[in-house]
């Protein structure tokens, strides 16, 4: 058991897809929340193997894509400080702010570094006591445990030159926002397996009860995804509004308790603005007051920066599942991964980037 190759077995995947064909009798619209799943679906052509009755729409689960423009502008302002080492996950570097991106700050002499883990940023802070090290703490529930651990670790090591720029969002409020939308077409969700590995899936039954939409915890390999779709179709066809865990090897109902405890120690709930969508109440996390000293927004006094988005980009509608990337007039012409207008084209997890890269457009 390697937990990878077993779940890429083409014969098994085909068998499960055939079962989906046998199970479906009506049209269903299913949203996969996670950008990683969007990429796996498009890359492996899973969307083209499904029966025509099933439409997959791509949700707002790409943290790079939903990080609001003003947070990028704040990052750019901080990264431009001469005594700052600005650390980020690689995906954020090309995301355009109002005027430029982190790469151009780096090109102009800013010390911008890509790190694999936030602990790498803490190491940099320890090794560079004369510099301010700032980590761009973006993400959903999956990056929250690593990001808060970096703060705790910096505190434990007595580092006063480490801070994080927080842009944390959560999945359940986004699911609720999609289902509450006046134009919503989504009837069921594939829930992101790694989010549920951290948080469990106990937050979803109340949403399922409220909106009567089944949800299936789904992994990332091709076999995981087709299994998630099969279980979703079965629930939809049976008229059952329930949660099903199709990623049992990694996910339990309660999730990772030590990680949740650490998140709650460092973070508290807050309203967050989502790029292309707007403010969703209590949809994110911020540092608790006792960790103010680690808050880069306060340390560098960038709290007042605001920004407006490009009117050409329809990323907001794409992130809510209302439109597909190829329905945008700028797709592939004015907006490409080299010259992106919006974050969904920048991020390797973004729906527009997936459609552009793999060229699989189903109309």
């Amino acid at each position: 058991m390697k937990y990878v190759t077993e779940y890429r077995d083409a014969t098994l995947v085909k068998g499960v897809i055939e079962e989906i064909h046998r199970s479906v009798t009506r049209s269903w619209t299913i949203m996969e929340i996670c950008g990683g799943q969007t990429h796996a679906i498009v890359r492996h052509g899973i969307n083209q193997l499904l029966p025509p009755e099933i439409e997959l729409v791509h949700g707002p689960g790409c943290p790079v894509c939903v990080t609001p423009l003003e947070l990028i502008d704040k990052a750019l302002a901080i990264a431009s400080h001469p005594d700052v080492i600005f650390c980020s996950y690689g995906d954020m570097l090309r995301v355009p702010g109002s005027g430029r991106d982190l790469f151009s700050v780096k090109a102009q002499g800013g010390d911008v570094r890509v790190v694999y883990s936030p602990l790498d940023a803490v190491k940099l802070a320890k090794a560079n006591p004369d510099k301010q090290v700032v980590f761009f703490a973006i993400g959903f529930e999956t990056t929250a445990p690593p990001n808060v651990m970096s703060v705790v670790q910096a505190k434990n090591l007595g580092l006063t030159n480490y801070s994080i720029l927080v842009s944390h969002v959560r999945v359940p409020p986004a699911v609720s926002a999609v289902l509450s939308g006046p134009s919503n077409r989504v009837q069921a969700f594939l829930l992101a397996g790694h989010v549920c590995a951290v948080m469990g899936y106990h937050e979803y039954p109340p949403l399922i009860e409220q909106f009567r939409a089944p949800m299936v915890v789904t992994g990332f390999e091709p076999l995981d995804i087709v299994q998630g779709i099969l279980e979703t179709v079965r629930l939809l066809e049976a008229g059952k509004a329930e949660v099903f865990n199709a990623y049992q090897r990694a996910v339990t109902f309660d999730g990772n308790k030590p990680a949740q405890k650490m998140i709650n120690t460092v973070f508290e709930g807050c309203d967050r603005k989502w790029r292309g969508i707007g403010v969703i109440p209590m949809s994110g996390w911020q540092l608790r007051a006792e960790f103010d000293a680690f808050d880069a927004e306060k340390r560098f006094q960038v709290e007042t920066i605001t920004a407006d988005e490009s009117p050409l980009c329809i990323a907001g509608q794409i992130l809510q599942g209302l439109k597909k990337p190829h329905e945008c007039s700028a797709f592939g012409s004015k907006c490409t991964p080299e010259h992106p207008l919006g974050a969904t084209m920048v991020s390797s997890e973004g729906a527009c980037a997936a459609y552009f890269r793999y060229g699989r457009v189903t109309t």
Binding site: M1, K2, Y3, V4, T5, E6, R8, D9, A10, T11, L12, V13, K14, G15, V16, E18, E19, C34, G35, G36, H44, C62, P63, V64, Y89, G90, D91, Y116, S117, P118, L119, D120, G139, T142, T143, P145, P146, M149, Q153, N156, L157, G193, H194, A197, V198, F220, P222, L223, Q227, L230, A246, Q248, R249, A250, N256, P258, A259, M262, S348, E349
Partner: protein, 93 residues
């Protein structure tokens, strides 16, 4: 950055007060923090995300799911028990 990848713990050591592991992703080795899965041992497989183990993988659950999917696919009847050779894409890690 958004992907979580399964890897095998090959070594555990303490570093700056954290439990750190050397993790094997099919021949590529990376460091990962084990503080959120304190029960993890050398030889265990974990889901690793941005340098942190966030979940311990259960082999029994994994086998159960695969058996179920094999039944759905009727694969044993069609091809016999030998599976796993015809992957959609070669493993990246």
């Amino acid at each position: 950055m958004c992907l979580a990848v399964p890897g095998k713990i090959v070594e555990i050591k303490e570093s700056d007060g954290l439990q750190m592991a050397k993790v094997d992703f099919g021949g590529i080795f990376r460091e990962a923090c084990l503080d959120y899965v304190p029960e993890a041992k050398v030889g265990d497989y974990c889901v690793i995300h941005v340098g942190f183990a966030i979940s311990l993988l259960s082999e029994s659950e994994a086998m159960e799911t695969l058996d179920l999917l094999k039944q759905i696919s009727n694969i044993d009847e069609e091809l016999g028990p030998e599976v796993g050779q015809d992957a959609i894409l070669p493993p990246q890690w």
